[in-house]
């Protein structure tokens, strides 16, 4: 439950103590009353999730976990064991929450990535409307910037993507490091970004062998819940529609492909998603080096249409010469979509638009980098658990800046070449 009263009491008491020495006259009493009123007023201001994910400030989060449990979490960081926890942010307490280690390649016992679940023990409990929160340890992103800048670019391109903000995380009142607070993709995310959460949400779960929308047969269980894990409507999740979509992707004729697949996907939006990922030189996304990864699929209620939602963009912005055709020949959906002239043009347009939005040296994306860098500099330097040290942090920031300064021009060059050869390069 949200318990802001203790914090108010503590702060009021602190104010009272600080001003005790002044209260020797009516003037002081009036001043004290005014100060107290202002303090309470500021604390009583209702917060919402926009405040929480306000990326213009560096937040301070205080996480309380019993020392025994924290030691267990660190020792067993490869497991998803839940531990009771409490969270404090700007005068708001969230008790009876659960915390667990998270991540795939970024799992760590020294600086664990964390998922907070607010409704695990109290079903109806929410924190500013959120049921869960991801605290990314940025272990695969020594600059701390990739996730922030990537998600910003997705949103700038009109693609629904998780909100993100930085926080100094204190664990049992000791500084635990700089974390990236990422909005969890769940029912609250759907409601916030789409205005409706009654549909079917699936998280794509990477597993071997690599999968790129190949047809695995008519058995819907070949797709879900194994690879496409239901996140909502667990009691009546729908694997059959995914099966039909994959069947259409693989079996529609060349001429019918856009029409058949558009029953299940907004192809224009999907190609924009792929374009942004390729602009960001994402090696672990839909066109991932190791097969598809790091996205959610959401099927809106009463339709068969899905939309992709990006996730976990901490390996982007590293190789500016990344081909705009990277892995496009391997993924069945993208390969067949690009074979169709209209979709092909859509993809190139989206890339061009992305490059334009991002800008080159001194452009929008570099300005965002500067803003974020300034915001996190001190917290990153003081992070006792970042593995790469301060020199590593600075080097990573410089590399990210270099990527941003070069990438748009390099992409535009590739686009010019592609347009000149009318699709040669596919």
């Amino acid at each position: 439950m949200l318990l802001s009263q203790p914090a108010r009491s503590v702060q009021a008491k602190a104010v009272s103590e600080k001003t005790a020495g002044l209260t020797c006259g009516s003037v002081q009493r009036v001043l004290f009353s005014a100060l107290w009123f202002l303090t309470l007023s500021s604390l009583c201001t209702a917060h919402n999730s926009d405040d929480f994910f306000d990326s213009s400030v560096l937040h301070e989060l205080r996480l309380y976990v019993h020392p025994h449990d924290w030691a267990q979490l660190q020792a067993n960081y490869l497991k998803n064991t839940h531990y009771p926890a409490e969270l404090y942010w700007r005068g708001v307490w969230v008790a009876d929450s659960a915390v667990r280690s998270r991540g795939f390649g970024s799992r760590s016992g020294i600086k664990p990535g964390l998922t907070l679940e607010f409704n695990r023990y109290v079903a109806e409990q929410r924190f500013l409307g959120l049921t869960a929160l991801v605290l990314d340890n940025s272990l695969q992103d020594p600059s701390f910037l990739r996730e922030r800048l990537s998600l910003l670019l997705f949103r700038r391109m009109g693609i629904a993507a998780p909100r993100q903000a930085y926080a100094r995380l204190y664990i049992n009142d000791a500084y635990g490091g700089l974390y990236s607070m990422v909005e969890s993709v769940d029912e609250q995310f759907l409601q916030y970004h789409f205005g409706d959460n009654r549909g079917y949400l699936y998280e794509y779960r990477w597993s071997e062998p690599a999968y790129q929308f190949e047809y695995l047969g008519s058995n819907a269980e070949s797709y879900s819940p194994g690879r496409f894990r239901p996140e909502t409507r667990l009691d009546d999740f729908d694997a059959a529609t995914i099966g039909r979509m994959v069947h259409a992707i693989n079996s529609a004729s060349e001429d019918d492909f856009p029409r058949e697949v558009s029953r299940f996907l907004d192809l224009k939006l999907f190609m924009k998603h792929v374009a942004v990922e390729n602009f960001l030189a994402e090696p672990d996304g839909i066109l991932g080096l190791w097969g598809m990864n790091n996205f959610y699929l959401y099927r809106f209620i009463d339709t068969e249409r899905f939309q992709c939602i990006p996730w976990d963009k901490d390996m982007t912005l590293s190789y500016p010469w990344h081909s705009i055709w990277f892995n496009t020949g391997s993924n069945v959906l993208v390969r067949r979509a690009l074979a169709h002239p209209q979709t092909y043009e859509t993809y190139l347009d989206a890339l061009s638009q992305t490059a334009e939005h991002a800008g080159s040296a001194g452009g929008w994306l570099e300005q965002e980098l500067d803003r974020a860098y300034t915001q996190i500099l001190l917290a990153a330097y003081e992070d006792p658990r970042k593995p790469q040290g301060n020199a590593g942090f600075e080097a990573a920031v410089a590399a990210t800046r270099d990527f941003i300064q070069r990438r748009s021009d390099l992409v535009l060059e590739q686009l010019a070449a592609a347009r000149g050869s009318l699709g040669g390069g596919q």
Binding site: M1, Y64, V65, H66, P67, H68, D69, H82, P84, A85, E86, A95, D96, A98, R120, Y121, V122, Q125, N172
Partner: protein, 436 residues
């Protein structure tokens, strides 16, 4: 701390097959008849010893059980207890055993030099923890005996009654889950006023094998028959009342008591505790002719010092349970003493009807804030179980007994029941028991 592992005997489960059942029944009947026959054969030998007044030498006595005696120096009684159960739950639970041999206990007990009693009993089906009662009991003075070894911590009438002497297949939930059970220790005990007052007071290495989580334990128990001297209280003459308490150290960790159903499924999981565990038990037992009534109330309290998320103290964890049980020997005998044995003297043995109602609940001692289910919750969401048991006991003779029980279990919180959302369960159980 490492979460404590519950010690459970390893059961030998057999597949549900009519052949196995038939085989079991044949073996049981053979075992049931064997002691009677053996008793007849050896009786002559015993009489010869008795007539020869050879009490100074070694001789074998076959009465209710074989007993080897070396004059007045040493007596060795050979004891054995076997039980096989057929269990069935509705709705059916996964991996539910349908037929199991769950006890095969053998041992010796006796007296050495009239003052030193002993018992050694082992469970053949439990390879990990085979020893049950293993102790010496020294008669020091009138009203004072010192017992040392492994035996039951004195708390709980139901728990202290041997499983083969139970009126039902299963002990009451409170008697099973809130009491300590066996542990290693020593105890002073004795009785006064011709059993009008008995006492037990002991110290034990740990908290018994039922919980398996506490440390050094002190226990005390007093029982008495307060109405036996009242001239006009004949009916209450055999009314025994008692009170018992234990106090244990409790190491930090997931070491609390937990609630489990008869099917050994958890309906209240362990929570983090630290500090001490105290138990309080009150008991009542009344017998009059073919009737008996018994009941208990037991409460356990585990402290949770520094176990909050912010290392703050949490309200204590409370476990509370009680039961009331009544039995009636329909064939008129005093309890469990068949007047005419089955297949001998044309008798049908003794038939007994029994019924018991009980409740067991777990929750926190204080209820501030929302109730939740995690192991460090200040206000732990309570869960409880209510159980009805109806039974028929057929005492074929002094050695063999067949018990049939119908049990209805109700779980308060369906989310924590053995089958999520399912709050009501029926169980049908049959036990074949052979003891000498």
């Amino acid at each position: 701390m490492t979460p404590a592992k519950a010690r459970q005997p390893k059961l030998r489960r057999l597949p549900q097959a009519s052949v196995v059942r038939l085989l079991g029944a044949v073996v049981f009947v053979c075992l049931e008849l064997l002691p009677s026959l053996a008793q007849g054969q050896v009786q002559g030998l015993n009489e010869a010893y008795e007539k020869g007044n050879d009490k100074e030498g070694m001789h074998l006595v076959m009465n209710r059980y074989p007993s080897l005696r070396f004059g007045n120096v040493l007596r060795i009684d050979f004891r054995a207890r076997f039980q096989a159960d057929s269990l069935s739950f509705s709705p059916r639970l996964n991996s539910e055993p349908t037929f199991e041999f769950n006890r095969a206990r053998v041992g010796i007990q006796g007296v050495f030099l009239k003052r030193l009693e002993y018992e050694v009993e082992g469970e053949l089906l439990d390879a990990e923890n085979p020893w049950r009662d293993v102790y010496l009991n020294f008669r020091c003075l009138q009203g004072l005996r010192i017992q040392a070894g492994k035996f039951k911590v004195p708390l709980g009438l139901d728990q202290l009654t041997r499983i083969t002497d139970q009126d039902y297949l299963f002990r009451s939930r409170a008697g099973d889950l809130l009491t300590p059970g066996r542990d290693v220790g020593f105890m002073a005990h004795g009785r006064f006023f011709k059993r009008g007052l008995t006492y037990q007071a002991g110290l034990f290495r740990a908290d018994g094998d039922n919980a398996g989580t506490g440390q050094r334990t002190a226990a005390v128990r007093l029982t008495g028959t307060p109405f036996r001297w009242l001239p006009r209280a004949r009916l209450l003459k055999n009314l025994t009342v008692g009170v018992a308490a234990t106090h244990s150290r409790l190491p930090e960790g997931l070491n609390s008591l937990r609630g489990r159903t008869l099917s050994r499924r958890t309906f209240f999981d362990r929570v983090f505790v630290s500090g001490r565990r105290s138990r309080l038990g009150t008991e009542l037992d009344w017998r009059h002719g073919p009737f008996s009534v018994s009941g208990e109330f037991i409460q356990s309290e585990d402290t949770r010092l520094n176990q909050g998320v912010r290392s703050q103290n949490l309200p204590n964890l409370l476990g509370r349970g009680w039961y009331v049980s009544g039995t009636w020997m329909a064939t008129g005998e005093k309890k469990d003493k068949p007047r005419r044995e089955f297949l001998r003297d044309g008798g049908w043995g003794a038939w007994e009807l029994a019924a018991r109602y009980e409740e067991l609940s777990f929750g926190s001692g204080a209820h501030s804030g929302p109730a939740t289910i995690h192991a460090r919750a200040a206000n732990i969401l309570r869960n409880s179980e209510r159980v009805w048991t109806f039974g028929v006991n057929w005492y074929l003779n002094r050695h063999a007994k067949i018990q049939v029980n119908a049990v209805h279990e109700g779980i308060e919180d369906g989310r924590r029941s053995p089958l999520a959302g399912q709050q009501q369960f029926w169980g049908q159980f049959v036990r074949l028991q052979w003891v000498f």
